[in-house]
């Protein structure tokens, strides 16, 4: 596994969600109260763009059909999605975010 550069961290200010295409995969980066979480960007139910969803506390709600996921570990809290989100390890180096793919 290798770490791939995603973005400079100033592109992901607190309380923002951005999605990036890294090595053919869509990855979502969430800055929740200053902490970065990197997860797969598409809902496991029907492929909705999760970066357009709503985040309350650490729960992300899918913008299409309302599935709820915990952003810390990608687990499904509420359906219709049955499968959790892939979570990617990340590091920050020289003000850039890298994720392990």
């Amino acid at each position: 596994m290798t770490y791939l550069k995603v973005s400079s961290i100033d592109m992901i200010p607190p309380e923002s969600v951005k999605s990036f295409r890294i090595d053919g995969k869509e990855v979502m980066v969430i800055n929740n109260k200053g902490k970065l979480f990197c997860l797969q960007a598409r809902c496991t139910h029907a492929g909705a763009p999760l970066a357009e969803g709503r985040i309350e506390d650490d729960i992300l709600t899918c913008p299409w059909h309302g599935s709820k996921f915990r952003i810390t570990d990608g687990e499904v809290i509420n359906g219709p999605a049955k499968k959790g989100l892939q979570v990617y390890k990340n590091i920050i180096k020289d003000d850039f975010l890298y994720i392990e793919l």
Binding site: S7, M11, S16, V17, K18, S19, F20, R21, E26, A46, G47, A48, P49, E52, P63, W64
Partner: protein
Amino acid sequence: MVGNGSLAIALDSSLRIRDLFYPRVGLENHVGGHKFLLGVWIDKLFRWIDDDWKISSNYLPETLVSRCIASNPNLKIELEINDAVYSFLDIYLRKVVVRNNDSQNHEIRVFFSHDFHLYGEDAGDTAFYEPIIKAVIHYKRNRYFLVNGETEQNDGFYEFATGQKESFGREGTWRDAEDGILSGNLIAQGSVDSTVSFRLRMNANSEHTIYYWIACGKTLEKVKELNFFVKKTGLEQLLLETENYWSAWINKEGVDLNILPKDIRRLVKTSLLVMRTHVDSRGGIIASCDSDVLQFNRDTYSYVWPRDGAICAMAFDALGFQEVSRLFFGFCNRVITDEGYFRHKYWSNGSTGSSWHELLGTDGKQQLPIQLDETALVLIALWNHFQKYQDLEFISKVYPRLVVKATEFMLDYRDERTGLPKPTFDVWEERAGIFSSTAAMVCSALSCAAKFAQVFYDSERQKYLNEVVSQMKKAIITHLYDDKLKRFIKAIYPDNSRDTTIDSSLLMATIYGIFNPPNKAMKETAEAVINHLWLRQGIGGLSRYENDKYHRVSERFQGNPWPVCTMWLGRWYCRTAQSLEELNKALDILRWSAGISLPSGLLAEQLNPFDGKPISVSPLIWSHAEFVMTANEYLDSYRRLRYVERN
């Protein structure tokens, strides 16, 4: 707006279908502004969904699938509605989740009425009930529309009615619905409508789903086949496929929008999707599907203006949707006249659209009823397209007509004395004259033609065209720049009178014209435009020109703010910013645009200067295209300036 390139449907703020174009976007409107009502009957109380309801309309993010909520606290009922046109076949899909928010059980009936005017006419239609497939079908000549649906429990219609309307004192079957019961009349011909109902027996605080669809085809067999397909596949699955199709379409690898704030990023994507619904499968891009303006002049914006289409094509190209712009250039290649110019506007099948441009000028002399900037802009858009995609094989197919013929026409259509283009109508379609903005765009188009000549190693032609460009540029400054006013004037008319009105279209001389990068004369002109046309009160934004009376709301302002003109100013700021701080002015314009868009993301032609409510058509595709172009220019400028400031 929902659509797939051959079926396009516009709904209003009360969730009623108002326009249905099939099989060509912008050509045959089978509803024509009439209303397909949606109503609810609950315990003998009937309500059409209208102003009494609290209604929100939006799209599911990154799709052309709607999410609308209509709630009525008095009835303690809520409807959540998804509308879509299936991406791959001509079927309108509607999913209605009905929520009984009361603590008591209720029988609820939901009504859908259909006020078709097939081929845009009310006479000669038939509506009938088909007992084998239990559907209602409207038809005339080669157009068939099959209405069907089912509830979650696989029940079809509860009741139905077909009947006559708009004649002999008959209002239509929608009136029959208001007692909660439909007559069951099996067939009606002439000027007809139909209404169907679904019955739900709902427990307290529960929800049920209705699936409803309209299959569109040219034969009875075709619509029956589509109906079978929906029943077999399930409407839920078709909605999912449509959501995924558009999400994949909008997220193709192209421009990284992450620099933009979320609301602007979202509006860029919505704009591209809404623009896509206005593109006919054979390339015509219509200005607007909204037929609300029909009531003013018995005509619509459902035409292809080469100007609007060219700017849309530039926006599609800028964000990587080259296949859509190529479709448009193919359309242009088919419709350009043998003489090498575009007419005022076209139907989406390429036939000439209606026009108000006279063939005789105020001086009694013959004039061409065209707007020459439309020809120029298509050539400019084609060059932009080629610069980005280098698709020489495609260009070679359209080069003889779209480039050579158009160029020859623009060369011929010059005043020998001044070297300027001869009079044509302006971008606002109001008067014939020699307009600074048109002249600058023609000059820019000839410059693009010179670059095309270079691509094809025609060095003599390239040299000649560059000479003409140089002469025309000088002529524009000589004749259309006013030394005393220190800015470009709007126009010179055939009687040699000079129009010094300050007009925002002068910014087009930089945005699309030859004065890019802007020179001193352009900077002075832009300053005058900003000083005189920016609304310092009300919602802000830029008016078209001084004393603009078109739909004018208040004389306190020079005119209503137009998103198109405001976006030109945003693009002006992008081109002239020398620092990231200066570039913030362009970001402010983008934020303003996001602020004045409807909750669904639609941008109107113009706005009420006091409250920002849309005036005239909404959406106007030109507004969306200029917004996309502004966002794209902002991104380019941001990257350039950030690089400069970091190094």
